[in-house]
């Protein structure tokens, strides 16, 4: 009874904090510019199904792909066990589903156990890749500090979770062997049937009961902690990868989005179009300089980024030592959205008249933007269809069109196109190659 009350109180508290956290993320994402994701739902569902659920793009590199798959499948399947933990937690029952499901119950729990072992191995390898072998893409400057710790927290939580599962199941199996009525038979679990008795078989019954309860609580408390922590973590990708892949752009990678307002302006200037009767005289800001001027789908992508750094590892600018890192671009957009969100929450700013004197250009320097070759390697590399290039190009547009800045070296090219119709200032005829 006491345990039930405690369980319900903790669940409700965790749910409240998680709700607040996720609500805040949703609000931050919606700081972006309203833009419709248009058309082709069948292809969008296909993308979500293959890329997010099926992890298709992870399999470019099979080792991390399989390790990640173990963690992912273990995580998803373990949620089945959570249903029972909730039932038991609220009603004070013990392994409520076991008598009803019989052999199927044994099968499900055994599957969870095998996957948990695989996930355990994967987690150890992942920790080593980050902390011992120091894989290059985890050592970049943008990962210093919290992002580096964040990744380790999540991996350590995974280990704690797995310890919880095996204390719970192993303790249970050891107690079942002693014929205690409360610990009714559940069939032979794949791992804890031998792990439980061999670890806990020699201990006194009250100690083993304690271990079983400890495992049960450790499991559920880790899950609650994870849920509440998630909105503060790069690990949000486990949820946001789904909407993010659904909303990902479907056009050829080479295509840059048109700017109809500029198109209209230019056509009027050239006498190809007439101004709208009710058009306002002042020009809007062009390109993007802040989260408010990026389409919300791109802010969603920023929150979906799990900082794996495959983009940065593939970026020709980054791997030749330039400052540009596509991963940092995504992290900067997210951090700026977080900053705006905090100012809104503290009441120091309002959404209607937001002005904290800062913009994305306080996070991203022109040097980074100017290093991009628009080669799309980052876009190709992202396992969840994030497009850092779109953001870079919108910032470049803002730099050139609104700030009238940008590399001076581009001016002769601009002038040549405007005055000569060619990307270089040439005095020769365009067909002089014929002679």
């Amino acid at each position: 009874m006491l345990q039930s009350i405690l369980f319900i109180l903790i669940s409700a508290t965790a749910a409240w904090f998680a709700f607040k956290g996720f609500y805040r993320i949703r609000r931050n994402i919606m700081l972006g510019k309203p833009e419709k994701a248009t058309g082709n739902p069948s292809l969008r569902w296909k993308n979500t199904f293959l890329v997010a659920l099926g992890q298709q793009k992870m399999f470019k590199n099979w080792l991390p792909a399989f390790l990640h798959l173990f963690l992912y499948v273990a995580f998803v399947i373990t949620q089945v066990e959570l249903i029972e933990i909730f039932v038991d937690g609220i009603f004070g029952t013990h392994r409520f589903f076991a008598p009803f499901l019989g052999g199927f119950y044994t099968f499900v729990i055994s599957t969870i156990e095998i996957l948990s072992v695989l996930a355990f191995v994967a987690t150890l390898i992942f920790l080593s890749r980050r902390n011992v072998w120091k894989v290059a893409r985890f050592q970049k400057p943008e990962l210093k500090g919290f992002p580096f710790r964040d990744a380790n927290y999540i991996l350590l939580a995974e280990i704690v979770l797995i310890i919880g599962i095996f204390c719970m199941n192993g303790g249970d199996k050891a107690l079942q062997l002693r014929g205690l009525e409360h610990y009714h038979p559940t069939g032979a679990f794949a791992v804890s049937s031998w792990l439980g008795p061999s670890l806990f078989g020699a201990l006194d019954t009250p100690v083993v009961i304690g271990i079983e309860r400890f495992g049960w609580w450790l499991h559920i408390l880790t899950v609650f902690g994870f849920l509440v922590y998630l909105p503060y973590s790069k690990h949000l990708h486990i949820i946001l990868a789904f909407p993010s892949t659904w909303y990902a752009r479907l056009t050829e990678k080479g295509e840059m989005a048109n700017m109809p307002e500029v198109q209209k302006e230019v056509r009027i200037m050239m006498g190809l179009d007439t101004p709208d009767a009710n058009a306002s005289g002042d020009l809007p800001e062009f390109g993007a300089n802040d989260v408010f001027s990026l389409p919300w789908q791109q802010v969603l992508q920023a929150y979906s980024c799990t900082e794996c750094g495959r983009c940065t590892a593939a970026c020709p600018a980054n791997l030749t030592g330039k400052k540009l890192s596509p991963r940092k671009i995504m992290m900067d957009v997210r951090d700026r959205a977080d900053e705006i969100g905090k100012n809104l929450d503290s009441g120091s700013q309002t959404l209607e008249s937001y002005n904290d004197g800062k913009s994305l250009f306080d996070y991203i320097t022109p040097e980074e933007l100017h290093a991009c070759t628009t080669c799309n390697a980052c876009v190709e590399a992202c396992p969840v269809l994030i497009n850092p290039l779109d953001i870079i190009l919108q910032l470049r547009r803002h730099e050139i069109l609104t700030q009238s800045a940008g590399p001076n070296e581009w001016l002769p090219m601009f002038n040549a196109i405007e005055n000569n119709g060619a990307a270089w200032a040439m005095s020769a005829e365009r067909d002089s190659w014929k002679h």
Binding site: M259, Q263, F286, G287, T320, T373, T374, M413, A422
Partner: protein, 259 residues
């Protein structure tokens, strides 16, 4: 070389099958002009009726747009679309993947709808149609050659097979670099980098690419883009290998292999 403009075709009351979009590099860059002439010779050999726009062609606006100068892009694009639509152009071939990408993917939103083929695709279909007869044992037969995927033909537009089919037709010994096709490494010129110095770093991108190419020990490096060719040649020069290893466009190799 007798290549007619579309205006000349129209004066004769005729219209060509296809327009050859030469592009700025193909028009003015000495190295790329050779590719322009090679493609013209191939089209003549195959009996394709084609026209150029001559002085009525302008930069597609690719570097301006990628630099962020949308006004300039819209201006030059609108002028090109006016010209192309005036002549009723339906099909365009280009030897430049940047022109290809802009004309194919970005002009439709501005009212310019054309069927686009990259010259490697067109040459490939001419071979398949039997219009280009290849020598039994050509210059490149059995030669160890590596192929550099340009970003704008490759990742940007998913064209990987047509250029490789040409290499197969040439019967070369193709050795792929580790980073190829979808994972191909940029030459360093895209996104208007061609018109500026690199940002501070450890190395130039074209050097990284050329080192990778050299690691597979090719006799020839082949590309499909005038900007890639410039960058690769510059990289080879920095490595003092430019006298030993030529960089060719696929059209040049095909031309030298025609019967």
């Amino acid at each position: 070389m007798n290549v007619k403009t579309i205006a000349e075709y129209q004066a004769e009351g005729k219209s060509p099958e296809i327009v050859f979009w030469v592009g700025c590099a193909g028009s003015f860059d000495a190295r790329a002009q050779k590719i322009t002439r090679a493609l013209c010779e191939i089209l003549e050999y195959a009996g394709v009726e084609f026209a150029i726009l001559g002085n009525e062609e302008r930069c597609t606006g690719d570097p301006a747009r990628r630099a962020g100068n949308e006004f300039l892009f819209q201006m030059t694009a609108a002028m090109n679309i006016e010209t192309l639509n005036l002549y009723g152009v339906k099909k365009i071939v280009t030897a430049c993947p940047h022109c290809f990408n802009t004309l194919k993917n970005e002009y439709p939103a501005l009212g310019g709808h054309y069927e686009l083929v990259h010259h490697t695709q067109l040459i490939n279909s001419l071979i398949e149609e039997g219009k280009l007869k290849m020598k039994e044992s050509g210059t490149f037969k059995g030669q160890r050659i590596t192929y550099h995927d340009s970003c704008y033909l490759g990742r940007a537009n998913d064209v990987y097979e047509a250029p490789r089919a040409l290499l197969e037709a040439l019967d070369v010994d193709l050795v792929e670099m580790k980073r190829s096709r979808k994972n191909g490494l940029c030459c360093g010129a895209g996104g208007a980098q061609m018109w500026k110095e690199d940002e501070p770093g450890d190395k130039r991108i074209n050097l990284e690419r050329v080192e990778e190419a050299l690691s597979v020990e090719p006799g020839v490096i082949v590309a499909n883009c005038p900007f890639c060719i410039t960058m690769l040649q510059d990289g080879l020069k920095a490595k003092e290998k430019n006298e030993l290893i030529p960089v060719y466009d696929l059209s040049e190799m095909i031309l030298s292999n025609l019967k």
